[in-house]
């Protein structure tokens, strides 16, 4: 299944003035025939994907579907051949530094440094994104305020709860004013209240800045509630694409049922029986998820 290349329908179109030479607004992320293999295992297998500017795009799928590998290709962490991945028109293979400057990235693990305070954690990312000294304090303050951590800023991140660490990571990603925020399983291991808290802050920040959000999750309910569009990924490819509403209606029509199915039903339909025997390189992901869950407590 391929993505339709229709123009951006973003509700809050971001100002494309900053450094965008191209007249046609490029897609925030476009992957063409993206393939990445770990040895024999093809984690991503000919993936086509287009994320429009300003939308919250959810990449869904079970462990081992290739979500994290896709994210790692988009973030330049994994080397990809030229022409396969573009971020706002910049090739992830040729313009790594240019791509990185557009990104805010929150990995799957709880990755704040427990030996530093919340403020120091954010300040580090202000420094490595070249925020000049005179505006560093103000910018760090605003990032911390945007995620509701102003009061806890001077405490060591090691004393934070799981939800707070996630929000701190969000602040770290936001301090450089990214145009694309990439969240890999942002709510894994969090309790329901913390999950809602993380999503509320993501949404509030998006409303304020108009940034594009690419998020992976295997919580179908979250995707249904918070994503503008979703791509259902299975065995390294996007198997269905559209708004959660579209996908659910589509299945209802095909099945001829009156009650609207859930996104999970859609996923079962798309993945078919293959869901059970998925063996695709999931061990590392499971392991790191477990580790994250342990750290969250």
């Amino acid at each position: 299944m391929t993505t339709d290349p229709a123009g951006p329908t973003a509700t809050t179109a971001p100002a494309t003035a900053a450094g965008e030479a191209a007249t046609a607004p490029a897609e925030a992320v476009s992957c063409t025939g993206l393939t990445y293999a770990f040895g024999e295992t093809r984690a991503v297998d000919g993936l086509d994907l287009g994320v429009r500017q300003g939308e919250v795009f959810g990449l869904l799928g079970p462990n081992g579907a290739g979500k994290t590998t896709t994210i790692r290709c988009v973030t330049t962490l994994l080397p990809v051949p030229a022409g396969m991945v573009r971020v706002f028109g910049h090739d992830a293979a040729k313009e790594r530094m240019g791509v990185r400057r557009l990104l805010g990235y929150v990995p799957q693990q709880l990755s704040a440094d427990g030996g530093l305070t919340g403020r120091e954690n954010v300040a580090l990312f202000a420094r490595v994104f070249d925020v000049p000294r005179r505006e560093r304090t103000a910018r760090v303050d605003q990032a911390l305020a945007a995620v509701g951590l102003s009061d806890a800023a001077e405490r060591l991140a090691g004393t934070y709860s799981g939800g707070m660490v996630r929000r701190l990571e969000l602040a770290q990603a936001l301090v450089s004013a990214p145009r694309l925020l990439i969240l890999d399983e942002p709510t894994v291991g969090l309790d329901p209240i913390a999950r809602t808290g993380v999503w509320e802050h993501v949404n509030a920040v998006r409303e304020a800045t108009g940034m594009t959000v690419l998020v992976t999750t295997h919580h179908m309910d979250e995707a249904d509630q918070y994503c503008d569009r979703v791509g259902l990924m299975h065995r390294g490819r996007v198997r269905a694409l559209g708004t959660p509403e579209e996908l659910r209606r589509g299945l209802a029509e095909r099945k001829g049922t009156d009650t609207l199915p859930t996104l999970e039903d859609v996923f079962r339909d798309v993945a078919g029986s293959g869901l059970d025997d998925n063996t695709g390189g999931g061990f590392r992901e499971v392991r790191s998820t477990r580790r994250t869950a342990r750290r969250v407590g």
């Binding site: 400057r101 693990q109 580090l124 709860s161 707070m164 004013a177 407590g297």
Partner: protein, 287 residues
């Protein structure tokens, strides 16, 4: 969530309305010019290292125990025995620069464990997705290790001074000492990060660290002059950067005859080679 304490912050954050003052979060910072980028990254990572040390000094104190014992027990005993030719100075004075170098090396040689931990915790991925070239990241980490080692070395220098070792207090010479400690630590931490890039696991790196620290230490002039070594050990000492570091420290701190040009030359080249090797292997840690 089992513990009750962390529940409060969620409620507190809920009534906050984010987005009221986010003006700066709308404009991306202007990129620094290419040549100014590596020094800025080195500064950023060194700052982080010092901040961590400020919050938790436990490691600094526990790591001071071993060098203190070396000086106190080994040093004082061998000063009485007079078994080792030291060129006319008390043995404890002779070995003090060696112990300073050793304690700095121990900090640096286990620095690779930290980078593997940062990799497992996702911190490394996050840093790699910032506009930081890999060589700049490694250089930053290496100098951060240098800063940490330097703080450790200062503690040992103070212990040595308390034990009555006649050290120089000439600020210029002490600056030279700092430079030698940092350069050597850059090399040893890069050695550690290079091995980290090969073995990719903390446990294996611990094993390697244990396996190489003692040969590096005993295969150097830290405890005895090169002249009393058997031929094969002299050869080891000749290619061991620790020997050049000790030679430089001895010359600067005690005023004994040394070869500063060769010492600093070798340490600089070793540091540069270390950074190159560790940068080349960082990609393996990123995967």
């Amino acid at each position: 969530m089992k513990s009750g304490a962390p529940a409060a912050p969620h409620a507190a954050s809920a009534d906050r309305t984010p987005g009221e003052d986010t003006a700066l979060l709308l404009s991306p910072p202007v990129p620094r010019a290419g040549w100014r980028l590596p020094p800025a990254r080195v500064l950023a990572l060194c700052t982080v290292e010092l901040q961590k040390l400020r919050h938790d000094r436990t490691e600094l104190y526990t790591r001071a125990v071993q060098p203190a014992l070396w000086l106190l027990i080994f040093g004082q005993t061998f000063t009485r025995i007079r078994a080792i030719p030291t060129g006319g100075i008390p043995y404890i004075d002779y070995m003090a620069p060696g112990i300073i170098a050793q304690s700095a090396m121990f900090v640096a040689i286990f620095y690779g464990i930290q980078i593997i931990w940062e990799r497992d915790a996702g911190i490394l991925s996050k840093l790699l997705v910032t506009p930081t070239p890999r060589s700049a990241l490694i250089t930053g980490k290496a100098f951060a290790a240098g800063v940490k080692s330097l703080v450790q070395a200062i503690v040992v220098i103070v212990i040595a001074a308390v034990l009555g070792v006649a050290l120089t207090w000439n600020p210029l010479k002490l600056l030279g000492v700092a430079l030698a400690v940092v350069l050597a630590s850059v090399f040893f931490s890069c050695l550690s990060m290079t091995i980290a890039g090969i073995v990719l696991s903390r446990d294996r790196l611990m094993g390697f660290g244990q396996a190489i620290t003692m040969p590096l230490f005993f295969g150097s002039n830290a405890l005895y002059p090169v002249s009393v070594m058997p031929g094969w050990l002299q050869a080891v000492s000749k290619v061991n950067p620790l020997s050049y570091q000790v030679d430089a420290l001895r010359g600067l701190l005690l005023g004994t005859p040394s070869h500063p040009a060769a010492d600093f030359g070798v340490l600089t080249i070793a540091a540069a080679l270390g950074i190159t090797a560790a940068s080349a292997l960082l990609g393996r840690l990123a995967r």
